[in-house]
Protein backbone atom coordinates (compact mmCIF):
# COMPACT_ATOMS: atom_id res chain seq x y z
CA UNK A 1 0.00 0.00 0.00
CA UNK A 2 1.32 3.40 -0.99
CA UNK A 3 1.79 5.46 2.15
CA UNK A 4 0.70 8.71 0.45
CA UNK A 5 -2.53 7.09 -0.74
CA UNK A 6 -3.14 5.62 2.69
CA UNK A 7 -2.63 8.98 4.41
CA UNK A 8 -5.01 10.82 2.10
CA UNK A 9 -7.78 8.21 2.23
CA UNK A 10 -7.54 7.97 6.04
CA UNK A 11 -7.92 11.74 6.33
CA UNK A 12 -10.75 11.69 3.78
CA UNK A 13 -12.59 9.04 5.76
CA UNK A 14 -12.49 11.23 8.87
CA UNK A 15 -13.72 14.21 6.80
CA UNK A 16 -16.67 12.18 5.54
CA UNK A 17 -17.55 11.09 9.07
CA UNK A 18 -17.77 14.76 10.06
CA UNK A 19 -20.39 15.32 7.36
CA UNK A 20 -23.08 13.50 9.34
CA UNK A 21 -22.93 15.89 12.33
CA UNK A 22 -22.68 18.69 9.74
CA UNK A 23 -25.84 17.42 8.07
CA UNK A 24 -27.49 17.20 11.49
CA UNK A 25 -26.82 20.91 12.07
CA UNK A 26 -27.84 21.82 8.51
CA UNK A 27 -31.18 20.07 9.04
CA UNK A 28 -31.48 20.91 12.75
CA UNK A 29 -31.22 24.65 12.12
CA UNK A 30 -33.99 24.44 9.52
CA UNK A 31 -36.25 22.49 11.89
CA UNK A 32 -38.31 24.05 14.69
CA UNK A 33 -36.65 24.62 18.05
CA UNK A 34 -38.98 22.09 19.66
CA UNK A 35 -37.84 19.35 17.23
CA UNK A 36 -34.14 20.07 16.80
CA UNK A 37 -32.85 17.39 19.16
CA UNK A 38 -35.00 14.77 17.46
CA UNK A 39 -33.44 15.80 14.17
CA UNK A 40 -29.89 15.63 15.59
CA UNK A 41 -30.60 12.22 17.11
CA UNK A 42 -31.98 10.80 13.86
CA UNK A 43 -28.63 11.67 12.28
CA UNK A 44 -26.51 10.55 15.22
CA UNK A 45 -28.49 7.30 15.32
CA UNK A 46 -26.91 6.49 11.96
CA UNK A 47 -23.51 7.13 13.56
CA UNK A 48 -24.37 4.62 16.30
CA UNK A 49 -25.85 1.79 14.28
CA UNK A 50 -24.34 1.82 10.80
CA UNK A 51 -20.63 1.46 11.75
CA UNK A 52 -21.41 -1.69 13.73
CA UNK A 53 -23.63 -3.11 11.01
CA UNK A 54 -21.12 -2.15 8.32
CA UNK A 55 -18.21 -4.14 9.74
CA UNK A 56 -20.41 -7.09 10.70
CA UNK A 57 -22.03 -7.61 7.30
CA UNK A 58 -22.81 -4.35 5.45
CA UNK A 59 -19.52 -3.90 3.66
CA UNK A 60 -19.38 -7.50 2.59
CA UNK A 61 -22.90 -7.37 1.12
CA UNK A 62 -22.21 -4.07 -0.60
CA UNK A 63 -18.85 -4.97 -2.13
CA UNK A 64 -17.32 -8.42 -1.73
CA UNK A 65 -16.69 -10.19 -3.97
CA UNK A 66 -16.33 -7.20 -6.26
CA UNK A 67 -17.26 -9.21 -9.39
CA UNK A 68 -20.74 -10.13 -8.16
CA UNK A 69 -23.53 -8.59 -10.26
CA UNK A 70 -26.36 -8.13 -7.80
CA UNK A 71 -25.22 -8.42 -4.21
CA UNK A 72 -22.01 -9.23 -2.38
CA UNK A 73 -21.65 -12.19 -0.09
CA UNK A 74 -20.22 -13.00 3.29
CA UNK A 75 -16.53 -13.25 2.33
CA UNK A 76 -15.71 -10.14 4.34
CA UNK A 77 -18.42 -10.48 6.96
CA UNK A 78 -17.00 -9.81 10.44
CA UNK A 79 -13.98 -8.36 8.58
CA UNK A 80 -12.76 -11.83 7.65
CA UNK A 81 -10.00 -12.09 5.04
CA UNK A 82 -8.95 -8.48 5.54
CA UNK A 83 -5.32 -8.45 6.71
CA UNK A 84 -3.06 -5.50 7.43
CA UNK A 85 0.01 -7.51 6.50
CA UNK A 86 1.19 -9.04 3.23
CA UNK A 87 0.58 -7.60 -0.22
CA UNK A 88 -2.72 -5.90 0.70
CA UNK A 89 -1.15 -4.10 3.64
CA UNK A 90 -4.52 -3.03 4.97
CA UNK A 91 -5.76 -1.31 1.80
CA UNK A 92 -9.00 -3.28 1.65
CA UNK A 93 -9.64 -2.42 5.31
CA UNK A 94 -9.00 1.22 4.47
CA UNK A 95 -11.52 1.12 1.61
CA UNK A 96 -13.96 -0.65 3.92
CA UNK A 97 -13.81 2.06 6.57
CA UNK A 98 -13.88 4.89 4.00
CA UNK A 99 -17.04 3.46 2.40
CA UNK A 100 -18.50 2.91 5.87
CA UNK A 101 -18.68 6.68 6.29
CA UNK A 102 -20.85 6.85 3.14
CA UNK A 103 -23.08 4.11 4.51
CA UNK A 104 -23.60 6.27 7.63
CA UNK A 105 -24.59 9.47 5.87
CA UNK A 106 -26.83 7.98 3.18
CA UNK A 107 -29.76 6.99 5.44
CA UNK A 108 -29.11 10.15 7.47
CA UNK A 109 -29.91 12.21 4.35
CA UNK A 110 -33.49 10.88 4.46
CA UNK A 111 -34.10 12.28 7.95
CA UNK A 112 -34.65 15.81 6.63
CA UNK A 113 -37.76 14.75 4.75
CA UNK A 114 -39.50 13.06 7.69
CA UNK A 115 -38.69 15.85 10.16
CA UNK A 116 -41.17 16.77 12.85
CA UNK A 117 -43.58 13.82 12.89
CA UNK A 118 -41.84 10.41 12.68
CA UNK A 119 -41.71 8.16 15.71
CA UNK A 120 -38.11 7.78 16.78
CA UNK A 121 -38.66 4.07 17.40
CA UNK A 122 -39.66 3.65 13.77
CA UNK A 123 -36.61 5.59 12.57
CA UNK A 124 -34.38 3.49 14.85
CA UNK A 125 -35.40 0.40 12.88
CA UNK A 126 -35.77 2.10 9.50
CA UNK A 127 -32.25 3.53 9.19
CA UNK A 128 -30.18 0.33 9.70
CA UNK A 129 -32.65 -1.90 7.83
CA UNK A 130 -32.74 0.55 4.91
CA UNK A 131 -28.94 0.49 4.78
CA UNK A 132 -29.01 -3.30 4.33
CA UNK A 133 -32.06 -3.58 2.04
CA UNK A 134 -31.57 -0.55 -0.19
CA UNK A 135 -28.15 1.07 0.18
CA UNK A 136 -26.09 -2.14 0.06
CA UNK A 137 -27.58 -3.65 -3.14
CA UNK A 138 -27.74 -0.36 -5.05
CA UNK A 139 -24.15 0.39 -4.01
CA UNK A 140 -23.16 -3.04 -5.32
CA UNK A 141 -24.90 -2.55 -8.68
CA UNK A 142 -23.22 0.80 -9.21
CA UNK A 143 -19.76 -0.21 -7.97
CA UNK A 144 -18.66 -3.54 -9.41
CA UNK A 145 -22.16 -4.83 -10.13
CA UNK A 146 -24.24 -4.94 -13.29
CA UNK A 147 -24.88 -1.22 -13.68
CA UNK A 148 -21.20 -0.39 -13.31
CA UNK A 149 -20.20 -3.20 -15.65
CA UNK A 150 -22.50 -1.81 -18.36
CA UNK A 151 -20.49 1.40 -18.24
CA UNK A 152 -22.46 3.84 -16.11
CA UNK A 153 -20.27 6.17 -14.07
CA UNK A 154 -20.70 7.37 -10.50
CA UNK A 155 -17.49 8.73 -9.07
CA UNK A 156 -18.44 9.35 -5.44
CA UNK A 157 -22.09 8.44 -5.11
CA UNK A 158 -24.49 10.61 -7.11
CA UNK A 159 -26.68 7.67 -8.03
CA UNK A 160 -25.80 5.26 -5.24
CA UNK A 161 -26.16 7.87 -2.50
CA UNK A 162 -28.01 11.07 -3.43
CA UNK A 163 -30.54 9.83 -5.99
CA UNK A 164 -31.02 6.72 -3.87
CA UNK A 165 -31.61 8.59 -0.59
CA UNK A 166 -33.58 11.36 -2.32
CA UNK A 167 -36.15 9.08 -3.91
CA UNK A 168 -36.32 7.04 -0.68
CA UNK A 169 -37.17 10.29 1.11
CA UNK A 170 -40.11 10.75 -1.25
CA UNK A 171 -41.38 7.23 -0.56
CA UNK A 172 -41.04 7.87 3.19
CA UNK A 173 -43.08 11.07 3.22
CA UNK A 174 -45.79 9.56 1.03
CA UNK A 175 -46.31 6.81 3.62
CA UNK A 176 -45.78 9.10 6.61
CA UNK A 177 -48.11 11.89 5.50
CA UNK A 178 -47.99 15.63 5.95
CA UNK A 179 -47.25 17.49 9.15
CA UNK A 180 -50.28 18.99 10.87
CA UNK A 181 -51.29 22.20 9.16
CA UNK A 182 -48.82 21.87 6.29
CA UNK A 183 -48.53 23.74 4.00
CA UNK A 184 -50.71 26.60 5.27
CA UNK A 185 -49.03 26.68 8.69
CA UNK A 186 -45.34 26.68 7.88
CA UNK A 187 -42.43 26.79 10.23
CA UNK A 188 -39.44 28.92 9.31
CA UNK A 189 -35.93 27.73 10.29
CA UNK A 190 -35.34 28.17 14.03
CA UNK A 191 -31.61 28.90 13.65
CA UNK A 192 -30.13 30.08 10.38
CA UNK A 193 -26.64 30.35 11.96
CA UNK A 194 -26.77 26.58 12.64
CA UNK A 195 -27.75 25.99 9.01
CA UNK A 196 -24.78 28.02 7.78
CA UNK A 197 -22.41 26.24 10.17
CA UNK A 198 -23.73 22.87 9.00
CA UNK A 199 -23.23 23.94 5.38
CA UNK A 200 -19.60 24.79 6.08
CA UNK A 201 -19.01 21.44 7.76
CA UNK A 202 -20.65 19.64 4.85
CA UNK A 203 -18.50 21.45 2.30
CA UNK A 204 -15.32 20.69 4.24
CA UNK A 205 -16.32 17.04 4.53
CA UNK A 206 -17.21 16.85 0.86
CA UNK A 207 -13.53 17.25 -0.08
CA UNK A 208 -13.01 13.89 1.57
CA UNK A 209 -16.19 12.51 0.01
CA UNK A 210 -15.22 13.41 -3.57
CA UNK A 211 -11.43 13.72 -3.64
CA UNK A 212 -11.05 10.75 -1.28
CA UNK A 213 -13.06 8.65 -3.72
CA UNK A 214 -10.03 8.59 -6.00
CA UNK A 215 -8.79 6.11 -3.34
CA UNK A 216 -5.34 7.53 -4.01
CA UNK A 217 -3.37 10.75 -3.63
CA UNK A 218 -3.11 11.42 -7.36
CA UNK A 219 -4.18 13.74 -10.17
CA UNK A 220 -7.74 12.46 -10.16
CA UNK A 221 -7.99 13.37 -6.48
CA UNK A 222 -6.68 16.86 -7.26
CA UNK A 223 -9.25 17.35 -10.02
CA UNK A 224 -12.08 16.03 -7.82
CA UNK A 225 -10.96 18.44 -5.09
CA UNK A 226 -11.05 21.39 -7.49
CA UNK A 227 -14.44 20.34 -8.85
CA UNK A 228 -15.80 20.19 -5.29
CA UNK A 229 -14.47 23.69 -4.69
CA UNK A 230 -15.88 25.20 -7.87
CA UNK A 231 -19.23 23.44 -8.26
CA UNK A 232 -20.33 24.26 -4.71
CA UNK A 233 -19.55 27.92 -5.27
CA UNK A 234 -21.17 28.11 -8.71
CA UNK A 235 -24.38 26.48 -7.53
CA UNK A 236 -24.59 28.66 -4.41
CA UNK A 237 -24.10 31.70 -6.61
CA UNK A 238 -26.75 30.55 -9.08
CA UNK A 239 -29.35 29.84 -6.38
CA UNK A 240 -28.66 33.14 -4.61
CA UNK A 241 -28.99 35.08 -7.89
CA UNK A 242 -32.24 33.36 -8.83
CA UNK A 243 -33.72 34.29 -5.46
CA UNK A 244 -32.46 37.86 -5.79
CA UNK A 245 -34.09 38.26 -9.19
CA UNK A 246 -37.25 36.28 -8.42
CA UNK A 247 -37.93 37.13 -4.76
CA UNK A 248 -35.91 40.28 -4.17
CA UNK A 249 -33.19 39.28 -1.70
CA UNK A 250 -29.92 37.39 -1.34
CA UNK A 251 -30.83 34.87 1.36
CA UNK A 252 -28.57 32.79 3.58
CA UNK A 253 -30.73 29.71 3.10
CA UNK A 254 -30.59 30.19 -0.66
CA UNK A 255 -26.80 30.36 -0.58
CA UNK A 256 -26.55 27.31 1.68
CA UNK A 257 -29.05 25.28 -0.33
CA UNK A 258 -27.26 26.14 -3.55
CA UNK A 259 -23.89 25.09 -2.17
CA UNK A 260 -25.28 21.73 -1.08
CA UNK A 261 -27.09 21.25 -4.41
CA UNK A 262 -23.85 21.93 -6.27
CA UNK A 263 -21.87 19.54 -4.09
CA UNK A 264 -24.51 16.85 -4.68
CA UNK A 265 -24.43 17.48 -8.43
CA UNK A 266 -20.65 17.32 -8.78
CA UNK A 267 -20.41 14.12 -6.73
CA UNK A 268 -21.09 11.65 -9.58
CA UNK A 269 -18.72 13.45 -11.97
CA UNK A 270 -16.06 14.65 -9.53
CA UNK A 271 -13.34 12.44 -11.02
CA UNK A 272 -14.67 12.37 -14.60
CA UNK A 273 -15.08 16.04 -15.52
CA UNK A 274 -12.59 18.89 -15.68
CA UNK A 275 -11.98 22.40 -16.93
CA UNK A 276 -15.08 24.59 -16.89
CA UNK A 277 -17.49 21.64 -16.65
CA UNK A 278 -17.84 21.87 -12.84
CA UNK A 279 -18.93 25.51 -13.20
CA UNK A 280 -21.60 24.58 -15.73
CA UNK A 281 -22.78 21.62 -13.64
CA UNK A 282 -22.88 23.80 -10.52
CA UNK A 283 -24.79 26.63 -12.22
CA UNK A 284 -27.31 24.18 -13.68
CA UNK A 285 -27.82 22.44 -10.32
CA UNK A 286 -28.26 25.76 -8.51
CA UNK A 287 -30.97 27.00 -10.86
CA UNK A 288 -32.80 23.69 -11.31
CA UNK A 289 -32.83 22.77 -7.60
CA UNK A 290 -33.96 26.28 -6.65
CA UNK A 291 -37.11 25.63 -8.67
CA UNK A 292 -37.33 21.92 -7.78
CA UNK A 293 -37.87 22.64 -4.07
CA UNK A 294 -41.19 24.24 -5.04
CA UNK A 295 -42.53 21.02 -6.56
CA UNK A 296 -43.66 19.77 -3.16
CA UNK A 297 -46.17 22.59 -2.87
CA UNK A 298 -47.60 21.83 -6.30
CA UNK A 299 -47.64 18.06 -5.85
CA UNK A 300 -48.63 18.12 -2.18
CA UNK A 301 -45.96 15.92 -0.57
CA UNK A 302 -44.47 17.23 2.67
CA UNK A 303 -40.72 16.84 2.12
CA UNK A 304 -40.00 18.99 5.16
CA UNK A 305 -36.41 20.08 4.50
CA UNK A 306 -36.24 19.48 0.73
CA UNK A 307 -34.33 16.22 0.51
CA UNK A 308 -36.08 15.44 -2.78
CA UNK A 309 -35.56 18.89 -4.29
CA UNK A 310 -31.88 19.09 -3.37
CA UNK A 311 -30.50 15.54 -3.17
CA UNK A 312 -32.69 13.65 -5.63
CA UNK A 313 -32.88 16.38 -8.25
CA UNK A 314 -29.29 17.55 -7.72
CA UNK A 315 -27.98 13.99 -7.89
CA UNK A 316 -29.94 13.30 -11.06
CA UNK A 317 -28.77 16.50 -12.75
CA UNK A 318 -25.14 15.74 -11.86
CA UNK A 319 -25.36 12.10 -12.89
CA UNK A 320 -26.86 12.91 -16.30
CA UNK A 321 -24.25 15.66 -16.72
CA UNK A 322 -21.56 12.96 -16.55
CA UNK A 323 -23.10 11.66 -19.77
CA UNK A 324 -22.35 15.05 -21.31
CA UNK A 325 -19.01 16.06 -19.80
CA UNK A 326 -17.11 12.82 -19.10
CA UNK A 327 -13.58 13.24 -20.46
CA UNK A 328 -11.52 10.04 -20.18
CA UNK A 329 -8.68 11.54 -22.19
CA UNK A 330 -8.04 14.18 -19.54
CA UNK A 331 -7.98 11.56 -16.80
CA UNK A 332 -6.16 8.91 -18.82
CA UNK A 333 -8.87 6.39 -18.04
CA UNK A 334 -10.78 3.71 -19.96
CA UNK A 335 -14.36 4.82 -19.31
CA UNK A 336 -16.81 6.12 -21.93
CA UNK A 337 -16.73 9.67 -23.26
CA UNK A 338 -19.62 12.04 -22.70
CA UNK A 339 -21.71 13.55 -25.50
CA UNK A 340 -19.65 16.75 -25.58
CA UNK A 341 -16.38 14.83 -25.85
CA UNK A 342 -17.26 12.74 -28.89
CA UNK A 343 -18.90 9.84 -27.09
CA UNK A 344 -22.39 10.11 -28.51
CA UNK A 345 -25.46 9.21 -26.47
CA UNK A 346 -24.24 5.86 -25.16
CA UNK A 347 -22.98 7.06 -21.79
CA UNK A 348 -25.97 9.34 -21.31
CA UNK A 349 -28.21 6.32 -21.84
CA UNK A 350 -26.26 4.27 -19.31
CA UNK A 351 -26.52 7.10 -16.78
CA UNK A 352 -30.26 7.33 -17.33
CA UNK A 353 -30.62 3.55 -16.99
CA UNK A 354 -28.60 3.38 -13.78
CA UNK A 355 -30.63 6.17 -12.22
CA UNK A 356 -33.93 4.77 -13.48
CA UNK A 357 -33.21 1.36 -11.97
CA UNK A 358 -32.10 2.95 -8.70
CA UNK A 359 -35.20 5.14 -8.55
CA UNK A 360 -37.59 2.22 -9.07
CA UNK A 361 -35.86 -0.17 -6.68
CA UNK A 362 -35.26 2.36 -3.92
CA UNK A 363 -38.77 3.84 -4.13
CA UNK A 364 -40.49 0.46 -4.03
CA UNK A 365 -38.41 -1.18 -1.31
CA UNK A 366 -38.35 1.95 0.86
CA UNK A 367 -42.11 2.29 0.49
CA UNK A 368 -42.64 -1.35 1.48
CA UNK A 369 -40.34 -0.97 4.48
CA UNK A 370 -42.24 2.11 5.66
CA UNK A 371 -45.59 0.39 5.10
CA UNK A 372 -44.40 -2.60 7.13
CA UNK A 373 -43.36 -0.29 9.98
CA UNK A 374 -46.65 1.59 9.74
CA UNK A 375 -48.63 -1.65 9.98
CA UNK A 376 -46.66 -2.91 12.98
CA UNK A 377 -45.18 -0.37 15.37
CA UNK A 378 -46.54 2.75 13.65
CA UNK A 379 -44.51 5.51 12.03
CA UNK A 380 -46.16 8.70 13.33
CA UNK A 381 -46.12 10.33 16.71
CA UNK A 382 -49.53 11.20 18.24
CA UNK A 383 -50.98 14.59 17.32
CA UNK A 384 -50.36 16.12 20.75
CA UNK A 385 -46.70 15.14 20.61
CA UNK A 386 -46.33 16.63 17.15
CA UNK A 387 -47.97 19.80 18.40
CA UNK A 388 -45.76 20.14 21.48
CA UNK A 389 -42.58 19.14 19.65
CA UNK A 390 -40.78 15.80 19.60
CA UNK A 391 -37.75 16.63 21.75
CA UNK A 392 -39.28 16.24 25.18
CA UNK A 393 -41.73 13.35 24.61
CA UNK A 394 -39.37 11.31 22.41
CA UNK A 395 -36.02 12.07 24.05
CA UNK A 396 -36.73 13.70 27.45
CA UNK A 397 -34.42 16.53 26.48
CA UNK A 398 -34.79 20.16 25.47
CA UNK A 399 -32.43 22.03 23.17
CA UNK A 400 -32.68 25.45 24.75
CA UNK A 401 -33.18 26.28 28.39
CA UNK A 402 -33.51 29.76 29.80
CA UNK A 403 -33.58 30.70 33.47
CA UNK A 404 -37.33 30.96 33.42
CA UNK A 405 -37.92 27.46 32.14
CA UNK A 406 -35.37 26.16 34.65
CA UNK A 407 -37.11 27.94 37.51
CA UNK A 408 -40.53 26.79 36.42
CA UNK A 409 -39.46 23.35 35.29
CA UNK A 410 -41.97 21.45 37.38
CA UNK A 411 -44.90 23.40 36.05
CA UNK A 412 -43.53 24.28 32.62
CA UNK A 413 -44.26 20.90 31.06
CA UNK A 414 -47.73 19.64 30.19
CA UNK A 415 -48.28 16.77 32.61
CA UNK A 416 -49.14 14.19 29.96
CA UNK A 417 -45.85 14.96 28.26
CA UNK A 418 -43.82 15.32 31.40
CA UNK A 419 -40.60 13.40 31.33
CA UNK A 420 -38.06 12.82 34.03
CA UNK A 421 -35.42 15.47 33.55
CA UNK A 422 -32.11 14.74 35.18
CA UNK A 423 -29.65 17.55 35.72
Amino acid sequence: MDTGDAAWVLVSAALVLFMTPGLAFFYGGMDRSRNVLNMLMMNFWCLLTIPVLWVVVGFSLAQAPFENDLIGGFDNAFLRNMPITGEDGGFSLLVMVFLGMFAVITPALISGAVAGRMRFGAWAIFAPVWMLLVFAPVFKWVYGGWLGQRGSLDFAGGTAIHVNAGIAALACVLVLGKRRGWPSAGSPPHSMPLVMLGTGILWLGWFGFNAGSALAANGTAVQAFINTFVAGAAAGLAWALVERVRDGHFTNLGAASGIVAGLVAITPGAGYVSGMAPILIGLAAGVICCYAVRLKHRAGYDDALDVVGVHFVGGLVGSLAVGLFSDPQFFGTENMEGLFFGGGLELLFEQALANGVTIIYSFVVTGLLMLALKATIGVRVPDDVEQAGLDLPEHAEQAYHDDLSAGLRETGVPSELRAEVRT
Partner: protein
Protein backbone atom coordinates in the same frame (compact mmCIF):
# COMPACT_ATOMS: atom_id res chain seq x y z
CA UNK B 1 -50.52 57.80 45.50
CA UNK B 2 -48.39 55.76 43.21
CA UNK B 3 -48.83 55.14 39.52
CA UNK B 4 -47.58 52.43 37.17
CA UNK B 5 -46.48 53.53 33.71
CA UNK B 6 -46.56 50.66 31.22
CA UNK B 7 -45.36 51.16 27.67
CA UNK B 8 -45.04 48.68 24.84
CA UNK B 9 -42.43 50.04 22.45
CA UNK B 10 -40.22 49.12 19.53
CA UNK B 11 -37.19 47.06 20.63
CA UNK B 12 -34.87 49.55 18.96
CA UNK B 13 -36.27 52.46 20.99
CA UNK B 14 -35.36 50.87 24.33
CA UNK B 15 -31.99 52.61 24.60
CA UNK B 16 -33.52 56.01 23.84
CA UNK B 17 -36.30 55.51 26.39
CA UNK B 18 -33.90 54.31 29.08
CA UNK B 19 -31.56 57.25 28.53
CA UNK B 20 -34.43 59.73 28.61
CA UNK B 21 -35.82 58.25 31.84
CA UNK B 22 -32.42 58.30 33.54
CA UNK B 23 -32.03 61.91 32.41
CA UNK B 24 -35.43 62.67 33.94
CA UNK B 25 -34.30 61.26 37.28
CA UNK B 26 -35.84 57.79 37.26
CA UNK B 27 -33.85 55.21 39.23
CA UNK B 28 -35.41 51.97 38.15
CA UNK B 29 -37.46 50.36 35.45
CA UNK B 30 -38.34 46.89 34.24
CA UNK B 31 -38.05 45.89 30.59
CA UNK B 32 -39.50 42.65 29.24
CA UNK B 33 -39.36 41.10 25.80
CA UNK B 34 -42.89 40.49 24.61
CA UNK B 35 -44.76 39.52 21.46
CA UNK B 36 -47.64 41.67 20.34
CA UNK B 37 -50.38 41.28 17.77
CA UNK B 38 -51.66 44.85 17.70
CA UNK B 39 -50.01 47.84 16.01
CA UNK B 40 -47.70 47.97 13.09
CA UNK B 41 -47.42 45.98 9.90
CA UNK B 42 -46.60 42.26 9.79
CA UNK B 43 -43.19 41.36 8.57
CA UNK B 44 -42.46 38.76 5.95
CA UNK B 45 -39.65 36.22 5.93
CA UNK B 46 -38.60 34.24 2.87
CA UNK B 47 -37.09 30.74 2.94
CA UNK B 48 -36.47 28.79 -0.26
CA UNK B 49 -39.00 30.95 -2.05
CA UNK B 50 -41.74 30.33 0.53
CA UNK B 51 -43.11 33.36 2.35
CA UNK B 52 -43.77 33.33 6.07
CA UNK B 53 -45.75 36.21 7.54
CA UNK B 54 -44.81 36.83 11.14
CA UNK B 55 -47.75 38.62 12.74
CA UNK B 56 -46.66 38.47 16.40
CA UNK B 57 -43.96 41.11 16.39
CA UNK B 58 -41.21 41.38 18.96
CA UNK B 59 -41.78 44.35 21.27
CA UNK B 60 -40.42 45.59 24.58
CA UNK B 61 -42.66 46.27 27.55
CA UNK B 62 -41.37 48.87 29.98
CA UNK B 63 -42.76 49.25 33.46
CA UNK B 64 -41.94 52.15 35.77
CA UNK B 65 -43.51 52.72 39.16
CA UNK B 66 -43.62 56.45 39.95
CA UNK B 67 -44.99 59.07 42.31
CA UNK B 68 -48.39 60.47 41.30
CA UNK B 69 -46.93 63.95 40.77
CA UNK B 70 -44.27 62.62 38.38
CA UNK B 71 -46.56 60.41 36.32
CA UNK B 72 -47.68 62.84 33.63
CA UNK B 73 -44.22 64.31 33.08
CA UNK B 74 -42.49 60.90 32.83
CA UNK B 75 -45.22 59.54 30.57
CA UNK B 76 -44.45 62.38 28.15
CA UNK B 77 -40.72 61.59 28.42
CA UNK B 78 -41.36 57.95 27.42
CA UNK B 79 -43.74 58.87 24.61
CA UNK B 80 -41.30 61.39 23.18
CA UNK B 81 -38.34 59.00 23.34
CA UNK B 82 -40.21 56.01 21.91
CA UNK B 83 -41.79 57.85 18.99
CA UNK B 84 -40.54 57.38 15.42
CA UNK B 85 -43.74 58.56 13.79
CA UNK B 86 -44.29 55.33 11.86
CA UNK B 87 -46.98 52.71 12.49
CA UNK B 88 -45.90 50.27 15.21
CA UNK B 89 -44.53 52.74 17.76
CA UNK B 90 -46.61 51.10 20.49
CA UNK B 91 -48.72 52.32 23.40
CA UNK B 92 -48.45 53.69 26.91
CA UNK B 93 -50.97 53.47 29.71
CA UNK B 94 -51.10 54.62 33.31
CA UNK B 95 -52.68 52.63 36.14
CA UNK B 96 -53.13 53.06 39.87
CA UNK B 97 -50.91 51.04 42.18
CA UNK B 98 -52.35 49.89 45.48
CA UNK B 99 -49.12 49.23 47.29
CA UNK B 100 -45.36 49.18 46.68
CA UNK B 101 -42.93 47.31 48.95
CA UNK B 102 -39.15 47.30 48.66
CA UNK B 103 -38.33 43.65 49.27
CA UNK B 104 -34.93 44.20 50.92
CA UNK B 105 -36.00 46.73 53.56
CA UNK B 106 -39.74 46.38 53.76
CA UNK B 107 -40.17 50.13 53.03
CA UNK B 108 -43.59 51.00 51.65
CA UNK B 109 -45.17 53.59 49.45
CA UNK B 110 -43.15 56.49 48.04
CA UNK B 111 -40.22 55.54 50.31
CA UNK B 112 -39.87 52.30 48.38
CA UNK B 113 -39.37 54.18 45.11
CA UNK B 114 -36.20 56.12 45.92
Amino acid sequence: MIKLLTAVIRPHQLDAVRDALVEAGVHGMTATEVRGLADGPDHTEMYRGAEYTVDAAHQIRIEVVVDLFEAERLAEVIVAAARTGKAGDGKLWITDVERVVRIRTGERGVDALH
